[in-house]
Symmetry: C2
Subunit: 316 residues, 2 copies
Amino acid sequence: MGIAALAGGVGASKLLFGLARAMPPGELTIVVNTGDDIEMHGLTICPDLDIVTYTLAGVVNPATGWGIDGDTFAARDYLGRYGRETWFNLGDRDLATHIHRTDMLHRGKTLSECAESIRRALGVKAKILPMSDEPVRTQIETENGLLPFQHYLVKHRAAPRVTKIHFHGAESAEPAPGVLEAIAAADGIVICPSNPLISIRPILAVTGIRDAIAARRADVVAISPIVGGASLKGPSDKMMAELGLEVSALGVARMYRDIVGRIIIDGADAALQTSIEELGVAGSVTGTVMRTGEDKVRLAAYTLTQFKKKASSAPA
Amino acid sequence: MGIAALAGGVGASKLLFGLARAMPPGELTIVVNTGDDIEMHGLTICPDLDIVTYTLAGVVNPATGWGIDGDTFAARDYLGRYGRETWFNLGDRDLATHIHRTDMLHRGKTLSECAESIRRALGVKAKILPMSDEPVRTQIETENGLLPFQHYLVKHRAAPRVTKIHFHGAESAEPAPGVLEAIAAADGIVICPSNPLISIRPILAVTGIRDAIAARRADVVAISPIVGGASLKGPSDKMMAELGLEVSALGVARMYRDIVGRIIIDGADAALQTSIEELGVAGSVTGTVMRTGEDKVRLAAYTLTQFKKKASSAPA
């Protein structure tokens, strides 16, 4: 059973950890958001690609969900001596990834080739694709002005009120090789429980991806990242509220209704199922909070069973 | 008293440590060999500039004479996971220097500007100039073929027999801003006890530097890096022998006779003084082996006293 998954960073990687265990990982293709990418100190840093790769490689820092377990920060501290910004936490081992990738890019390799090199070196069997080989940069329009995404998220800790979100470069970016093919060929497509606004939307904004997903709508299952009216991780809830969206699994279903046949919601949100199905989106209720490895594998396995049901349970 | 010094790496930095204490360091200008520079993983690495800067900043690893004290190697080990060469020891803190410099270069800054930024950030008062802002790369012709310098020195541990030495790019390289001015204005010029063949010659090979030094010959004092027929550090002796040069302070004096008014030799080589003076180079005899900080300051202070004597003690 071939599965394609759309993924951001920490939220997605929990489910992906489970998927890579609940199914043959070689049949899993992950399309990863690169709108969060940032150039820093001349290095190209791809936080979501790295989080997904490190997680599936089993080297991720389990305490944070990003970075490499046991990493040190000697280079970052010394970069500070040179007057450089140190708010973005670059570990020493992690830096090797950025150096390797940046050198490959300078030598004319594509971001897909970098991602492939890194996941193979770290022994990851699932296929990991950037959404595009061309740069797309998420920019957050806030009450304090336009902020590059990592400045908004890390430097300003997502504090400024969001008024609009831009995916700079998305309209002219082509999907990376294999992305549309994986979407077209997959038995099922998973939209991971990532921030819909800044993890999934940039992927959909790349030319042709939204249409490709919409064409497979009956085979697309999303997992709501909002549980009980709050995001489990990150500022999804705050951002949704600031943009006037309902902060609930129903709000998520509204955002996804054109591209998703089914949404998996947490038991805490079971009361929303009727409203969700009224949108024409099938609802499945299960525990979606992933604290342990077992939780991740269980939710992944549950997700895989939802494809067989297709959208048959949805109202006409 | 303004002093200009020509310097390689570890050998030179011992004397420079002393000079920066035996005189007001702000009146010291160091012209550093960049023939040893290497591009690795897309980073521009300048071993001699860094050794000199780290030494004067007091952060050098005292056990090796290069790298930063207490540095770790997490990034290097991870670069190995990506299939990259790890024979060149890049410490994590050290890597910050290379990242900072490479980013500056990519943004259009010169190598001089990088060196200035790094030495100021690390609190070094002496002026540190690369010999040129343009790339010069020392290449060692050996029985095993042509080797870039660091490949010869570090990867092959200086084992292959040397047949010729090239300074690729030197003939078209201009001295960095301030180099000729420092040589012209200095009260005295020191040629540090560096490898004459691969630390000092590349500096002299840059357009105009040899002539500028020769024009100041009476004010140029060299310290022989060969003591008792052997180099104190590195492969100077082996390389000199392979190139058919006499491996002695006299052999060094022969190489420097056109540009040096006086050479300081070790007490162990006192018997060579007459032969050296027959070359028209004044000889001064003192202890030149620098084991302790006191040794370094003492030899530096002694060196400074030799300028007042000028070449007056040399035969006509």
